[in-house]
Symmetry: C2
Subunit: 222 residues, 2 copies
DNA sequence: CGGCTGTGAATTGTATACAGTATGCAATTT
DNA sequence: AAATTGCATACTGTATACAATTCACAGCCG
């Protein structure tokens, strides 16, 4: 065969750096609002500034960083307002993706339950958040509109550090396990509309505790 | 005053280049599917490769380019499938944004009609597409969910070169002027639901001619 | 004649060097 | 003592240089 198109090609440094820095931001090693010093960061990662800057450039497009022309890159601050806007979009996008995907086959339903079971046992914030996202992506894996799925992934990336920041300070609140079970139950009985409604409820919930915490934190700093 | 925060600061080269290259892609000077030669392009734009690569990196995140690790950047091809997916999202997102924005004040309604009037007189593809986008953005300018508005803008940028490519080959089909008028009419009578429905109809229409043209083009090349 | 292999040019990836701008501190003035 | 100016330093923006990889084509072998 002539092409194995964009298949698992080993990434270049810039790509790897984007992942590395994104991780540093998500898990707090680069604090929200902090200024990014290119020289220090490049030295710490043992690379030159050129590929690092390409990575920072991409992260800016993703919304994880903000660029101010002659002052440099800053880690985007955590604001209640942004989180609220992000959270409001999921109940709009996810049910539509599920509707387009249709009722999953039995294999996928089994996978979903397996993920949910692991989610119930997990206790570290990182694992919980990651597994929850995996579950939601698996749910809509059959959605033919890949652009829609990409948008949902984009929102996941942007909300992840909010969720981790909360879970580190406050103990992990109630988990979404039961909501997830309600969705798969509806799907098993072939009730797509019911599943979409349950999914919407899942996404609408869990919103309030996070927002309350953030608003409180903003008040305290003002 | 100490700060005029990120206000209209003169952009750096990378930013300007991103705009320049995006324009080249949108209006076809960089053909869909073409490989981007960094050396040639940098020479043509009279800059060095470093800021150009940062710009290309960002355009990749926007979906205008695709990066293949050791082979370089390629202009993303025009596919009926992607366009279909993009067009399917607007009827989902725009009405929601309008609902959140609420009925606009009389000033904004007047602005909308003015834009629509100019749209009716315009005849060049570039102007028509640009004004149509301006109208839709003005319609939802009051939407408090800025992330949602950004997503709509993102879709506009990605669909623009499809629309221009079509309009250059085929003469501009029917315009959306009447649909727009229906939306503002509903809004003037305070009927938000009706306006959302009319908007949805506007966005669902105009889809078919473009898709038909693209599919035909793809068949001819196969 | 078709497919393989090696070699040189072209192209991308990364590092380094240099120039322009911002930032913080100290000296100076009011 | 507060404000302001000037200067040294640190940092970002851009260019250039070098290394590593890919690509195209010629020649060779089956």
């Amino acid at each position: 065969m002539q092409f194995s198109p964009h298949l698992a090609d080993r990434p270049n440094l810039s790509d790897s750096l984007a992942d590395a820095v994104r991780t540093m931001i998500v898990d707090g090693r680069l604090a929200a609002g902090a200024r990014v010093n290119e020289v220090h960061l490049a030295a710490a990662l043992k690379v030159s500034r050129t590929p690092l800057r390409e990575a920072l450039s991409r992260l800016t497009a993703e919304g994880a960083l903000q660029a101010v022309p002659r002052r440099g890159y800053f880690v985007a601050p955590l604001t209640a307002s942004e989180l609220e806007q992000l959270y409001d979009l999921r109940p709009l996008l996810d049910p539509e993706a599920l509707r387009l995907a249709g009722v999953p086959g039995p294999g996928r339903l089994q996978t979903l339950d397996a993920i949910n079971a692991r989610l119930a046992r997990e206790s570290t914030p990182e694992k919980i958040v990651a597994l929850d996202d995996v579950w939601h992506l698996e749910l809509i894996a059959g959605c033919p509109n890949r652009v829609l799925v990409e948008m949902i992934e984009q929102i996941m990336r942007r909300t992840r550090r909010y969720e981790l920041a909360l879970m580190r300070e406050a103990p992990p609140a109630e988990k979404a396990v039961d909501h997830h079970a309600a969705v798969t139950a509806a799907l098993r009985s072939g009730d797509l509309d019911g599943a979409c409604a349950a999914l919407k409820a899942n996404l609408t919930h869990g919103r309030e505790p996070l927002l309350a915490w953030l608003r409180d934190r903003e008040r305290r700093r003002a």
